[in-house]
């Protein structure tokens, strides 16, 4: 379960990204966060993942406050989460396979399992034929799918996706969103942030953010 209690995030320049946001996302929920650009969607996901700290208020993920957690605890928490970043955050010089496999290697999975699992997940997102290509050689849509594969490969308990279909054509976006919803149906808690609601068909919880505040849920 994820609890966000009156979280506010003000950046150094004085820009308020989030203002008094409170949310409670149950285990196994599929939360769709919608809002225009600059609404604070990415900041909210960053707070949940522990990349940023709230200026005030608190965030709790599975009973752990990422902002106060030790480095080791935060690392442990992140290994149970998957995050498909808006800017992908792929290691450009690595192959598609290596970018995905590293998550399983972090979890200490055996090599044979890693090989099979990575191939399977890359097949899900339609990248199995490009697994040996460098991430930098892939198109925007392919990179986005690769980022999604990396977020899914270890079957995390919580998955965060920031604009997961932004760089994809309609057909691919439908395919990828279908994959995320399929994972949700298997019990994964999914939080998707998007400015539009196209293909967001199966959420159990909708949150609308605007100017850093929850307008409706």
């Amino acid at each position: 379960m994820i609890t966000i209690d009156n979280a506010t995030k003000v950046y150094d320049g004085g820009v308020t990204a989030l203002s008094g946001v409170s949310l409670r996302i149950e285990k196994g929920a599929c939360c769709l966060i919608q809002g225009p650009s600059g609404a604070g969607k990415t900041t909210l996901l960053n707070l949940i993942y522990g990349i940023e700290r709230p200026s005030s208020g608190s965030v709790e993920v599975a009973g752990i406050n990422p902002a106060l957690a030790s480095r080791a605890t935060l690392q442990g928490l992140r290994r149970h989460m998957g995050f498909a970043f808006q800017d992908f955050r792929l290691v450009e010089g690595w192959s598609a396979y290596e970018n995905v496999a590293v998550v399983l290697e972090l979890a200490g999975k055996p090599r044979s399992y890693v090989r099979t699992r990575v191939w399977k997940v890359l097949e899900w997102v339609g990248l199995q034929h490009r697994m040996h290509e460098r991430a930098s050689d892939l198109s925007g849509g392919e990179r986005q799918r690769l980022a999604l594969a990396r977020a899914l490969v270890h079957t995390p308990e919580i998955m965060l996706a920031d604009e997961p279909a932004a760089s994809m054509d309609g057909e691919t976006a439908r395919l990828v969103m279908g994959l995320i919803f399929r994972m949700h149906k298997r019990g994964m808690t999914v939080i998707i942030a998007s400015h539009g609601m196209d293909f967001m068909t199966e959420g159990t919880m909708f949150v609308r953010l605007n100017h850093g505040m929850v307008e409706g849920s």
């Binding site: 690392q75 992140r78 010089g93 590293v102 998550v103 972090l106 200490g108």
Partner: protein, 285 residues
């Protein structure tokens, strides 16, 4: 858990992406390793020499001032009565000058205008061959006799090495310290460059939940590997140099021992902890 596949991939990628940087680092390690190995060898050689008995067949005992004929006779008897002394011959300063001129040449400017009075009287002492190894002890005993100013004998290369052991040890320690510092600096700098090059990758891995061991193990393995290879190459080069000297200069053959595993062990024993210190410092910053 040590991420072996990840480390292997990192090392393979490093070799492909920056072969020259790795080669240059390895070269630097090897050079420092060679110098360190030679330093260890020379200091050990001097130490061995200092423990070995000095062998000499004859020695010169120089007299202080101008002793009387009776005093010379008494001293001659005293020296001759020492165990291991075969023969004692008195060399007055005039004869000493003649010998010197014969040795250096009459026209040598060092002795051309030299007066016999400027030289000391001396005894030429012949040591019994069976007591040749006791030369050092005999020289000390003769040196303690009254009116004996100095005792000199041909100590050979080992004798000179033994006499210079303290100096060699001090110089060796200073040189080894400087080399060790160089080694630490090479590890530190090469690692900093490597970390800088991987900054983006490390940030992403940390975001994915990678711990310190996962992030830094490849660097530790790379630095340790290069350091060990450099030390081994250094030891091989030093060993080859020592063997070449022993083979080509027969005079040194009896003096110099081979470059042994013990020497290599000392070099590795210095290099490995030091490279780890360099790694720790680089990772800490």
């Amino acid at each position: 858990m040590v991420p072996i596949p990840y480390i292997a991939r990192y090392l393979r990628r490093s070799l492909i992406m920056r072969p020259w940087a790795i080669l240059m680092t390895l070269l630097a390690f090897s050079l420092v390793g060679t110098l360190l190995a030679l330093t260890v060898y020379v200091v050990d050689l001097a130490r061995t020499a200092s423990l070995m008995p000095v062998s000499a067949g004859s020695m010169m005992a120089y007299l202080a001032g101008r002793p009387s004929a009776e005093a010379v006779e008494r001293l001659k008897k005293d020296i001759g009565s020492l165990p291991g002394i075969e023969r004692v011959v008195f060399i007055p300063r005039g004869e000493g000058l003649v010998r010197l001129r014969r040795w250096l040449g009459d026209d040598n400017p060092l002795v051309a205008d030299l007066e016999a009075e400027a030289l000391p009287d001396a005894f030429e002492v012949r040591v019994d061959p069976s007591h040749a190894d006791d030369a050092q002890a005999l020289a000390e005993r003769i040196g303690h006799l009254p009116e004996i100013d100095d005792v000199r004998y041909n100590q050979g290369l080992m004798g000179h090495l033994a006499g210079s052991y303290r100096g060699i040890r001090t110089a060796g320690t200073v040189l080894a310290g400087a080399l060790v510092l160089c080694l630490g600096l090479i590890v530190f700098l090469s690692l900093r460059v490597s970390l800088q090059g991987r900054r983006h990758e490390l940030e992403i891995l940390a975001l994915l939940g990678a711990g310190r061991l996962f992030l830094h193990a490849p660097h530790i393995v790379e630095a340790l590997g290069l350091c060990c290879i450099g030390a081994i190459v250094g030891c091989l080069l030093a060993g080859y140099s020592v063997e070449a000297l022993r083979a080509h200069i027969s005079l040194l053959n009896g003096v110099m021992g081979a470059f042994s595993l013990w020497h290599a062990g000392v070099v590795l024993g210095v290099c490995v902890p030091l490279s780890l210190t360099g790694v720790a410092l680089a990772l800490r910053r």
